[in-house]
């Protein structure tokens, strides 16, 4: 790894809770910034996912056509890809809809329960939902898994710090859910 590794975080089909937990690093964010360059993140104003990223944390499951396109780009441009949080690791709440047919889910959410009563469909603007929500590992290879809904700030810090030190993060204390 170069002197200052490049770190990125991306947000697919998740509630952003994992990123909120990331922000809970509070003053340790400054320490993190001294250890790595945060090159891309929903909390940074960067349009395109850059080339040559060392570590990417991926929050969320792959639920629509945009996620599918983005995760492939992210994988191609990242050395160490981490499934970050339960939605990325297991599908979690995002994948609850896999118990039902997509058409029934859309009908229930938009025709029956929304104010407009119509299913939004703007080709090229509103991405289409995939028939089934996929875990990140179902689409691209994943190097490390950090479960938790969300993973605690402590777990995130220890995990990322270990990776930045070129170590394999310990599995100690990692768990699904709370």
């Amino acid at each position: 790894m170069p002197a200052k590794p490049k770190l990125a975080t991306v947000w697919l089909g998740g509630c952003s809770g994992c990123h909120m937990s990331f922000l809970d690093l509070d003053e340790r964010l400054i320490e993190l910034a001294s250890l790595a360059d945060v090159c891309y993140s929903p909390i940074a104003d960067v349009k395109h996912f850059p080339e040559g990223i060392d570590i990417t944390l991926v929050e969320g499951a792959v639920a629509n056509t945009d996620h599918l396109r983005d995760i492939r780009t992210v994988r191609a441009r990242t050395k160490i890809l981490v499934a970050f949080g339960d939605c990325a690791v297991t599908g979690n709440v995002t994948a609850l809809r896999n118990l039902y047919h997509l058409d029934d889910v859309l009908h229930r959410a938009y025709n029956e329960l929304s104010i407009t009563g119509t299913i939004p469909s703007l080709e090229g603007i509103v991405p289409r939902l995939l028939p089934r929500v996929l875990r990140v590992q179902d689409v691209v290879s994943v190097d490390h898994f950090l479960p938790g809904c969300p993973p605690s700030a402590e777990a995130i810090f220890e995990f990322v710090a270990a990776l930045l030190n070129g170590e394999t993060p310990s599995r100690e204390g990692r768990r699904f859910g709370a």
């Binding site: 979690n92 709440v93 896999n98 118990l99 898994f145 859910g177």
Partner: protein, 238 residues
């Protein structure tokens, strides 16, 4: 009763004749993982988490079903056993719908704890996403098949301790389900006394008290030891 001496994980331990390897090991502070075993209930060997290696035996043996013998040499925690246990937990998680973050037992579930303890940080198998029912017909309790691991603790406690035998397992393979009476809704069961024992011994969020929300359910198994002691020693002490 005569005493047996055996070696477990390099440690010499003593056990009573007729005791299982599992309980002898636990008495000596060697905690073999388990899901279907629960002290006070009969053993069925359903989950296979307690498998151990025994010198001179080619096959792995469920320690909750295998009796101690003199000079037995047992290993409970080899890399191969840990790998088997991890796979068993992954199979359980992939088979039905486990979404810990929104489960009543989040934070106090034996399956969730075991996954963490064994280092299961993801499931290598493809989740099955079966469509399963939730039975909320009982006044006080609920049954969520999405979380059931078919350990049959509910079946055994209801039969052996409460004496009602409301529960059974119906179907085969992936169609296996716990049922109440002859498959009617729990709330219509003629045999259920609403004692709640099954709810308390269930290791997962499959059986829960109504009114409990996410991560709200906690299980109390104190009653079991109390009743078993009363039966065995004819004394009402905890």
């Amino acid at each position: 009763m005569s005493v047996r001496t055996l070696e477990v994980d390099g440690k010499m331990i003593t056990a009573l004749e007729g005791q299982t390897i599992f309980s002898a090991a636990w008495d000596s502070g060697i905690h073999i993982p388990r899901l279907c075993h629960l002290g006070g209930l009969s053993d069925v060997g359903a989950c296979r988490l307690c498998l151990v290696e025994i010198d001179g035996q080619k096959r792995l043996q469920p320690s909750c079903m295998t009796k101690v013998a003199e000079d037995m040499v047992v290993r409970t925690n080899t890399p191969a056993l840990r790998a088997h246990r991890r796979l068993i937990v992954e199979l359980l998680l992939a088979e039905r719908n486990h979404v810990c973050s929104v489960c009543v037992l989040n934070g106090a579930c034996e399956l969730q704890d075991l996954a963490a303890q064994l280092g299961v940080d993801h499931v290598r198998l493809r989740p099955q996403y079966p469509t399963l029912d939730v039975d909320l017909s009982h006044d006080r309790f609920g049954l969520d098949h999405n979380r059931c691991i078919l350990c049959t603790r509910c079946v055994r406690v209801c039969d052996e301790v409460e004496g009602a035998h409301t529960w059974d397992v119906a179907g085969r393979g992936k169609n296996s389900r716990v049922i109440t009476d002859l498959g009617e809704p729990w709330g219509e069961s003629a045999s259920c006394t609403s004692c709640g024992k099954c709810v308390q011994v269930c290791p997962t969020g499959a059986l829960f008290s109504k009114g409990k929300t996410v991560a709200d359910m906690r299980k109390d198994r104190g009653f079991l030891r109390y009743i078993v002691t009363a039966r065995e020693k004819k004394l009402w002490i905890a």
